[in-house]
Structure formats: C-alpha cells, structure tokens
C-alpha cells in the first residue's frame, strides 16, 4: 500500500486501512476472483520511502472474502436475458452464458414477450428470473470482468 505523507500522523493506521479497503474491495483478478470485503488486518510492516518520491510503501497483510468460481464447479444463478442462441445468467457479480448447444436435448427456444426455453414435455421452462443450477465449463477473464460459459442445465427451479 502506498500512502502520501499528508496521511501520516496519528491516524496513519486508520488511513492505511481505509485506503486499503477502498483500493481492494470490489476489484477483480484472474487469480483470486472478486474481492467482496476486507475482514481483517493481520499486520502492517515498516514503511519504505520510494526513491524519487515522497510516497511511502507499507506492506499490509490482510484477510478478505473473495468469490472465485472454478471450471467444473456447480452453482446457482439467476437468468437475466434469454436469446435465440442461449441465455445469460448472473451469480452475484459473475456473468454466465449458456449457449443453446450446451443445453439438454429437447429444450426449445420460444420467442415472444417473455422469451424462454421450454422442454419438449413442457415440464421445464427457463426464462428471465428463473433460478438455474449450472456447471461451469469454460472460463474467460475479459479486461476487468470474469465471464464463465456454462454447459448442462442440471436441474431447474421455476419461480411461478
């Protein structure tokens, strides 16, 4: 963590922690996923003055909660948009896409005011706001987002 000298003084630790929280919470990395919240500070090391600047760098060890989905993992998601070639769903901050090629046989796209996928025996319908259980097959980290493509709708639960 880097801090400008104007933050030094009695509230140094407080300032460091606030800056850490501001800088780190809500960020995304390919390695750790989404950082949701900082839950504690383990240690703050000695500050080192950076050459040529008045900034001081402090090594900070902290604990946090991250959301890091994995290929092969099964998780619940909420359908957001249904289209002819597949549907988008969200699991919190994570965007997921299921292409129609990856759905179980018999799922047919139905266009209309509320586009959806319906099974051939009409027992299952996937539409906006449906809760679905998905298995992650591919991962792509796009710029600052992580997008997962999904295959196989295992079980679906309908709202209404």
């Amino acid at each position: 963590m880097q801090l400008h000298p104007r933050f030094f003084g009695q509230n140094l630790r407080e300032n460091l922690v606030s800056k850490l929280i501001k800088d780190v919470e809500g960020t995304i990395s390919g390695r750790h996923g989404f950082v949701l919240v900082v839950t504690g500070i383990e240690s703050i090391g000695k500050g080192l003055i950076r050459d040529g600047t008045s900034f001081v760098t402090f090594p900070v060890k902290y604990r946090c909660v991250v959301f890091r989905p994995f290929k092969g993992e099964v998780l619940e998601a909420v359908v957001t948009t249904v289209m002819q070639h597949g549907f988008f769903a969200e699991a919190g901050p994570l965007q997921l896409f299921v292409s129609n090629h990856e759905m179980s046989d018999g799922m047919e796209y139905q266009a209309g005011e509320m586009p959806n996928y319906t099974s051939s025996d009409a027992s299952v319908r996937i539409q906006k706001e449906s809760e679905v259980l998905l298995k992650i097959t591919t991962v792509s980290v796009v710029a600052t987002e992580i997008v997962r493509t999904i295959s196989i709708t295992l079980f679906t639960m309908q709202l209404k």
Partner: protein, 144 residues
C-alpha cells in the same frame, strides 16, 4: 490464472492456495456482508452508494441463495457437514446446494465419487435428515 495444471473443481484441482483457504457457504457470506452493510448504515444515510457493484450484487446473491438465516443454524450446518471427511470446497458446495439424493450429491460434487467416498454419498440421506431436523429447531431460519 496459472496454466500449470488444468483447473477442474470436479477433481478438486483448484490450486493449493484455494485448497488451503477457508471456504464459506452463501449463508456465512451473507452474515459477513450484511454486517458490513449495517456498519455502513450507521455512518452514512445512503450506504448503497458507498459500496461497489460487486458488493451489491454479491449481497443480493448470497441473501437469495442462503438456505439458513439464523447464525446458530448456520453454525450447526457447518458442524454437521464437518463430521464427514470433506474438503472445505466440497463442504460449502453441499451446504449451498443441499442435494436430496446421493445421485444429486455426486452430480454437484463429482469429487466425492472420485475420492471413493461412497460412504459419504450414501450417508447423504442422513445428512439431509440432519439438515431437515434443523428446520424444526430453528423454524425461522429457513430462507423463503
């Protein structure tokens, strides 16, 4: 992401870092995020503006997909699941998805079968029974 070993949660190939880390179920994360949100509410009139979209979406998600709301029930669930020889990751997926049958459990956590823990899979029925018992002790703890 390291390409050393092909990542695959179905075989518990999630990297040393994550195998060692503590894994949290949705209901546990919900308690943490709600606590943070309450802290923000005390200092600001509009806490939603103070948090990132990541936080907001995550909070909505874990609240929606939490099976248990009561903190004591949440502790009990972890305690029940810890009795079986599961990794943190497996424990949390089971706690989140609550499979009703052994087939469902293996579909959700394939590593159970691969590890040869058929006994655990068989006892999933008992696991479900234990978890269902919780609803009698903590009736208000089930998410709607």
């Amino acid at each position: 992401m390291s390409g050393e070993e092909e990542e695959n949660a179905a075989e518990l190939k999630i990297g040393e870092e994550f195998l060692k880390a503590k894994c949290l179920m949705n209901c546990e994360v919900s308690l943490i995020l709600e606590h943070k949100y309450e802290q923000l509410q005390q200092v600001s009139e509009d806490p939603m503006n103070q948090v990132s979209q990541v936080f907001e979406k995550s909070l909505q998600y874990v609240k929606r997909f939490s099976r248990y709301k009561n903190p004591d029930a949440v502790r009990q669930v972890r305690e029940i699941l810890s009795r079986h020889q599961l990794t943190e990751f497996e424990l949390c997926v089971l706690g989140n998805l609550c499979p009703e049958t052994a087939e469902e459990a293996v579909a959700m956590v394939p590593s159970l079968k691969v590890k040869g823990q058929i006994a655990i899979v068989m006892s999933c029925g008992l696991l479900r029974y234990d978890l269902v018992l919780l609803t009698f002790f903590f009736p208000s703890s089930l998410a709607l």
